[in-house]
Amino acid sequence: MVQYVLKRLFQSILTLIVVITIVFLLMRLMPEEGYFGTNYEKLDQAQREAILQSMGLRDPLNVQIKNFYSQLLKGDLGKSIIYRPKVEISSILKTKIPYSLKFGLAALTMSLLLGIPLGITMALNKNRIWDKLGTGYIVFISAVPAAVYYLFLQIYVTSILKLPILFNLDKPLSWILPAVSMSLGGIASYAMWMRRYMVDELNKDYVKLARAKGLRNSRIMINHVLRNAFVPMIQYLPSAILYTIAGSIYIESLYSIPGMGGLLVDAIQRQDNTLVQALVLIYSSIGIFGLFLGDILMAILDPRIKLKRGGSR
């Protein structure tokens, strides 16, 4: 097991390096006009060359890559070149991450605390009122794109409950609606999968045997059914936790929250190469390690799953 973990760790770092390099190269395929925004026509050729040179974009590719990695290894994420020129990226992130993190974790906690019990209730009361209500909710939230119902939530809930429309540090009430909106999708998703996996487990023969043997229903549920139903869901939990810092682009723009949400898209469109690379580095690490942790958790919980050498072919 330890050997497997180390091997996966090494692979993860390798993948990270490949991803960063590819993104590095892709960003340099972007059109040169993009670096100047509206100033493209106002500057003449010489000035444009000078600016590109100062951004380090005129050096040969291998030099650029070497500079980038040597800087990275020293722990320096670099400075943003267009989004906030000459500002250290780490300071930009330091102000933005806490907001996304707080909202994200609040939303995730709410999703888990509300979603999983809802899913269990739905599975236990199959085809009765809770199941039907829950299914209606899940269908609505899953089918309609989040952008759409976030808008309607903002319009109508703020007027009905008299909540502030935009986020403001001074108004504690303004924290509620964005966090709740963000959690709705999670509730629906966890409830749906929980219900599906539990129903699958409840139909299996070992449950019938346990009932025939006379085990208490609660014991069957907790010790056997829940444990098996959790296994497929555990995979996604580490990623979900880690991804909270990415923020939700819709919520943050709708409620004017100064978080990480729109930062990546903005940076790509403005072609702020250093910012894009730093963000991709962070998000990729989260993604890769989240996947890795999820697989490990899954293997720990379910001894039937063998991830390493075992079986044949």
Binding site: V144, A147, F152, S284
Partner: protein, 321 residues
Amino acid sequence: MSAKIEKLSHELNKSLFEFAEFDEREAERGGYSNYSYWRSTLMVFSQNRIAKFCLYLVIVLLTFTIIQPLLPNQKSPTEITIDEKTGMQLRNHEPDSQFWFGTNSIGQDLWARIWSGTRTSLLIGILVGVWEAIIGIVIGALWGYVRSLDRIITEIYNVLDNIPNTIILVLLTYILRPSIPTLIFAMCMTGWLSMARFVRNQIIIIRDREYNLASRCLGTPISRIISRNLLPYLVSVIMLRMALAIPGAIGSEVFLTYIGLGLPINIPSLGNLINEGRGVMMVASLRYQLIFPALVLSLITISFYVIGNAFADAADPRNHV
């Protein structure tokens, strides 16, 4: 047991204690079904009234979007109407008998725009959804089952997954001008990954079950194991994902339009319409510009979702007649 037993010691009903002989025909009747797999699926599906209703709704919507331009009295979705009285553009006109859904902020008929947009969005959604399903299942099955490929494809997956889709979309939109085929191509390139991963995870869970070990011992070729052992077990779960893929593609299109990478605004699509409506949503009298597209979008996505779920439930052999 039709005999009622008052007291155990009273006449013992002899028939309760006769040996039950083994009757071959009775044994077959227990697990026998008169219908084939897909026929049973269809029968269970049609028993679900809500799903049938949604199916009819989708068929009606689809037919309507196709024949709508041929109906009499329809206006063009891009034509800007000039009000005769003032000679100016008929902006933000409320819904009335002439413009069934009203007009938008530059005077275009919202009714025609919505149906044109639905056509576009549905086309994109269906093409991308089908592509995602085919490629995702093929790659996911190979990835999950063949151990030697597992490492390589996991590496490729990790790399592709972490390259932000936005970069690829911006680059593709730059290289090929923004248009419908570009959008479909770009969404296909980035969309199949999650389906593949999902299929792979499901296959990993059942890869080493005893019946698969048995098949391997017997020497069954891989393609047959995947198509006969693994995939049928997963049909219901895969159907669920496919049902989510079409509304998901429509949702991605809304997202892309939101960040400015989608279709150019002269081609109406549900994403464009919702964004235009977003701009005026705070003014209560103009809210219809958001409500109508959102309503149509919700009807479509919810219907596809319900149909997919019902089909997935019906495809599960445990529910079969």
